[in-house]
Symmetry: C2
Subunit: 179 residues, 2 copies
Amino acid sequence: MNADIPRILGIDPGLRVTGFGLIEMHGRQLVYVASGCIKSNDKASLPDRIKTLFEGISEVIATYRPNQAAVEKVFVNVNPQSTLLLGQARGAAISALVRAGLPVAEYTALQTKQAVVGHGKAAKEQVQDMVVRLLNLPGAPTADAADALACAIAHAHGGQGLGTMATAGYRVRGGRLIE
Amino acid sequence: MNADIPRILGIDPGLRVTGFGLIEMHGRQLVYVASGCIKSNDKASLPDRIKTLFEGISEVIATYRPNQAAVEKVFVNVNPQSTLLLGQARGAAISALVRAGLPVAEYTALQTKQAVVGHGKAAKEQVQDMVVRLLNLPGAPTADAADALACAIAHAHGGQGLGTMATAGYRVRGGRLIE
């Protein structure tokens, strides 16, 4: 890996499933590296689940050696206990990133959707579709991995929406893709 | 340090202030080791604050080499955003503990208060006072450090309340201290 090439690790944190996605910026072109998700056993104790997430993300970092990280800001849930659990998962994810010395940026779901779809009210499926198109993927990643990739894309765009970024196999102008 | 002697690190997690307290169990006697708190700058970014907490707890572990950990279960706050922040702080704290390979137990504030005061409705000052008496301290630790020590004491008691544990300089019978 060339240290001059930004390699961004995007994270969509969750206690049950944490999505991750890695992209590289080659000049103004985004290139897919890897994506997937880390699942914790909901029958395990909370410390054990935190351990699974922390170690899983640490392993992703050790394997793919990103030099930047972007984490989706999570929603407050209607259920306060769920909010508390989600917060703990996000704390574990950020801990793994900062422990590895990665600079960590944060993006709201709104910013992420604006970056990949062009507006903030996109449905999950639209995000998945656009991630596939923007990164020229052969198939659709899972929803969690797609959200993580979208967060990495938002970071590559400087959190500024589609703008004038080029992507693998496509060019973007005025928020529209042109082949 | 003798690895056979349980050395318990208690943690009272919080984003602004995380209290910590270490005690040793010498047979049935509890001995104070250290306590204090880790503060994060509320003007810093959330990832930077998570980093401060994670590294602070890691440093406490490296310095005092506990072999067990106990973390207070946190309350759901009336403010959902506060709940989310508190959750993230707790996730960072547990990450630092599991990363160090420590077994992590969890206790509610109710269990902690029962363990040190004998009932679950004790005020913060009562907890502080009883921690001072149970560990035979020369002065009162801060409220956050006292809560962390109380959590470690609850763990030493097996989360079972005062029971028949002896403490440094004191013996306990039927929930009352007897000198």
